[in-house]
Subunit: 225 residues, 2 copies
DNA sequence: TGAAATAATTAGATAAGGCTAAATTTATAA
DNA sequence: TTATAAATTTAGCCTTATCTAATTATTTCA
């Protein structure tokens, strides 16, 4: 029906579209998929031919109503697999991404539904990313604010962390920064570095700006009053 | 490293080699893999080029010492997955084959080892086929006799049943014929059909010759005295 | 021992997914 | 507004896995 590669492109477009809420440029997609631009152009023609994307030459691409559910299905597979690997097969959260990124294309919907059942229909994956339901609903997903956008003194709860860099994940878990953790923002350096004090003890942790921008949080100081 | 397709060829050669203990002919492999003969010829050249098989034009092919462990690794994955699907994800034994046949190429060895652990290092898959150990040892596998080779009056234990035809599997389990079941051979028709009476009750079941040839058994009347 | 039949290989094509180099379009900025 | 820069697409080639049609080996059997 649809190759694993094509599924990965659709997933990538879905992600990049939400990042920048605009049509996704060839160059951005090429960078993200780690291929050359002409490769993207030819793939976009094929996907457009089959109505999974709306592609306007020189203007970028976006998913159609046919393409979105396919992307969501793969994302569901990916996140359920990650949850399963950590919860039932004792994988570390730093090492689940690659295994899930391959398997997501090869498990059946039945397999996905069964592990969802085993796991008790989890709402989020180990990195805090929302898992679409079996009917591909993602409305339960809260957006959250970027960690980098808080003020010194704020008390915030970690909602989501980026999941592709194993070293970063190991660093974060070592310092007790996980989805659900409550932290105090103790310093924001002029060059963007954010220093946190997790409630879990172990003392303060500094995160570079780039990381602080990609961690999603929920404010406690504001929402609790 | 090695494509899923190539892995399937190696697995097929391993299987067919054991079936007929001889070099595997192009035509036999083509039939088994459901491709045309020239497709096999060109694949054999590639596999031979990379030393996974010993290929002599017009004379057939066999696995090398490099090829065997690769086939065994995939077989291990396949059978562990089947066991996992039935035991932990409530799949029926009739429907596990296709799911396992895809996933076998995409799970890591780590994944395989983890599910083996979860399952308590099982020796056989749901159809009675032996699961190679983590170091690819299959010496524990007992060969068994073909069901078709017994005499009327023999009491035999089912060891292994063919696993690719879901309808047959549903039929067998409906009539209580599973690995481990003890049955009496009550009739062998001149055209090869074998009638069995399973100890599990439910009365006699007739199996066509072809099926009786592909079911592997262990004799109880002989071995118990 | 030679046909005739069968099995296997070679030749040449296709589709998917990728690449590099060249051409073209769009954006930027003087 | 035009020239340069940047982004994108076209053109053409490669590899993998497959096919059909044609050719060549090997068996079989009269
Ligand atoms: Mn993927
Ligand atoms: Mn994740
Ligand atoms: Mn397979
Ligand atoms: Mn099996």
């Amino acid at each position: 029906m649809l190759s694993a590669i094509m599924e990965d492109y659709l997933k990538a477009i879905y992600y990049l579209q939400n990042e920048a809420d605009d049509r996704v440029r060839t160059s951005v997609l090429a960078e993200y998929m780690d291929v050359e631009q002409p490769t993207v152009t030819s793939m976009m023609k094929k996907l457009s031919e089959r109505d999974f994307v709306l592609y306007e030459p020189y203007r970028g691409v976006e998913l159609t109503d046919t393409g979105v559910p396919i992307a969501l299905e793969i994302i569901r597979h990916h996140r359920l697999l990650e949850r399963y690997l950590t919860d039932h097969l004792e994988y570390d959260w730093a090492e689940v991404h690659d295994e899930a990124d391959r398997l997501e294309h090869h498990i059946s919907s039945k397999f996905a539904d069964r592990i969802a059942e085993q796991l008790g229909q989890p709402a989020v994956d180990p990195h805090g990313d929302p898992i679409p339901t079996a009917n591909l609903d993602v409305s339960g997903a809260k957006d959250g604010e970027r960690l980098a956008d808080h003020q010194v003194g704020d008390s915030v709860q970690i909602v989501r962390v980026p999941d592709t860099d194993p070293d970063l994940l190991r660093y974060l878990s070592k310092h007790g920064i996980l989805p659900g953790t409550v932290v105090d923002v103790v310093e924001i350096a002029p060059f963007g570095m954010v220093t946190l004090d997790p409630d879990s003890g172990d003392g303060p942790v500094a995160l570079p700006e780039e990381v602080a921008c990609s961690i999603s949080t929920q404010s406690l100081t504001q929402s609790s009053h």
